[in-house]
Symmetry: C2
Subunit: 307 residues, 2 copies
């Protein structure tokens, strides 16, 4: 299949072509980039919803239930399960696929798992590209599910229109750990397993952090919903609040900002690749021998490279 053919078929709703395109993107192949160039004008209509939170928060179950709720509205949904936590997670990804197989006959649901391939930047790139692909394929919603909480999640959250931070009662000091840097990414809080003891306390803690300025003061405090994803409780209400937040956000300016940051990253990746290793090595040898200082070396390297 050529990128041209894949593009045409994907626009016609061909799920096998879509899966092929997703594999190209995951492999970061030329065909994948060619496909995205072709499909790019078709992007921009999907709602990209990030679902993030610490391990064990039930993000997958919640994504599954949100997907069911979206389907009940006769809208379509893709789930992109991103797992930056490396080799050990193959089991979890397999688990996702098995768990979700009740959707499998439904062409209105598409599920794709992505594992980490090396560095975080690469994963954020591939995730954005995969989200663009699913957007161009015509899904109304793309749920981007990320395991763990860290720099990678923050990057991925930036790609989403609305980010849901999923927390569970009884995490104790973990809330403190999550606080730094991650609370800010939440557009909506979901307290999952809220039938467990401690849901009230967790809600209080989140409210307190919000009142202490743990969120972007230019925005309203992120709304919060309690859910029990395993019993589908509260999921409709959560979807409604996600839609409300989506409607309130200035999508165009947010997308320009996101693209500006993303373009910088893409350009940096290319610039980095343009630095010739043999030249670096020659200078490193001279520096180690004290024949040159590193600042002079960098000046020389850049003079060769830049206009």
């Amino acid at each position: 299949m050529t990128a041209q053919e894949a593009s045409a078929r994907i626009q016609n709703g061909d799920r096998r072509a879509l899966a092929r395109g997703a594999s190209w993107i995951e492999a970061q192949s030329d065909a994948g980039h060619q496909l995205l160039r072709l499909l790019f004008p078709r992007t921009g209509s999907a709602k990209l919803i990030g679902i993030t939170g610490p391990p064990g928060a039930g993000k997958s179950t919640l994504a599954d239930q949100l997907a069911k709720t979206i389907r009940m509205r006769a809208q379509t949904v893709a789930i992109l399960a991103v797992d930056p936590s490396s080799p050990f997670t193959q089991g979890a990804i397999l688990g996702d696929r098995i768990r979700m197989q009740d959707h499998h006959a439904d062409p209105g649901v598409f599920i794709r798992s992505m594992a980490s391939r090396g560095k975080m930047g690469g994963l954020a790139s591939a995730t954005l590209e995969m989200a663009l692909l699913l957007d161009a394929a015509g899904f109304d919603f793309v749920l981007i599910e990320t395991v763990g909480v860290g720099q990678g999640e923050i990057e991925i959250a930036r790609l989403a229109d609305v980010t849901v931070l999923v927390l569970v009662p009884g995490m104790g000091d973990d809330v403190q750990a999550i606080k730094a840097g991650t609370m800010e990414i939440a557009d909506v809080f979901a307290i999952n397993k809220s039938d467990l003891p401690g849901a009230e306390r967790l809600e209080d803690e989140i409210r307190m952090m919000q009142s202490l300025g743990g969120h972007d003061q230019r925005r309203d405090a992120a709304p919060l919903r309690r859910v029990v994803a395993s019993q589908a409780q509260g999921v409709e209400s959560l979807l409604e609040v996600i839609e409300q937040v989506f409607a309130q956000r200035s999508r165009e300016s947010a997308r320009v900002d996101a693209w500006q940051i993303r373009l910088r990253e893409m350009a940096e990746e290319r610039l980095t690749a343009a630095l010739p290793e043999p030249t670096l090595n020659q200078h490193a040898v001279r520096i180690a021998a004290k024949m040159e200082d590193p600042y002079t070396a960098v000046d020389a390297i850049l003079a060769d490279l830049l206009k």
Copy 2:
């Protein structure tokens, strides 16, 4: 004080000039870079020893005791306490200074704390530059103490000739967490607080990880020493093993490698700074409006920049 003057004074052992130079470097000022260009030919004689490990492992106390042991040999030592864990640590840094004040009248000991300023790469740069400054100032040893365990520590460890990973008994599952990516950086293990229960178990766990290939197979397994830094127990033996590892390592080739990586980072920082934000913004607007795809945009941006 000009960079020229500072350079001359630092080479004459003037500690006030050294403190001034350190402030320039911490501020990433032009004077600091000028100073380093001047001093660079004088670097290369200090032994750079990294002291890293999780919070609470007693790294500062151990660095303090190592410094005392070095002074007993009539050699000089600088301690560079690097804390990438942001605002909250001002207290800890102040604490370092108070703790170390018994050295204060001794010109053979120099202590400097550095807090994180924004992104990790910046901290690693500033740390290397500070280590070069202390090296050029003629200290026999530079102890680079880093709080926490993460990407930043790995970068900083690469700068050191020998890295000591400090662990303490009773960390439980934390050893597992540390394992991934951090065990490899240890040239020497120090089990601190080894009078506590669990020291034997921790030693066994480290040995087991080493036998499972948790270290670079091209090298011998990193030696291990038990210490009780607060009582100065085992510190002389630890310093001896650090010296042995130092003597065994092929310093020249390691330094060429480290400089090659470092040059790449320095060049990347400069390339990154060369990307014009207004141009990125113009393209981002076009992308958000679907008038251009991001791949074409990056091609255009780079065509303007590169030779």
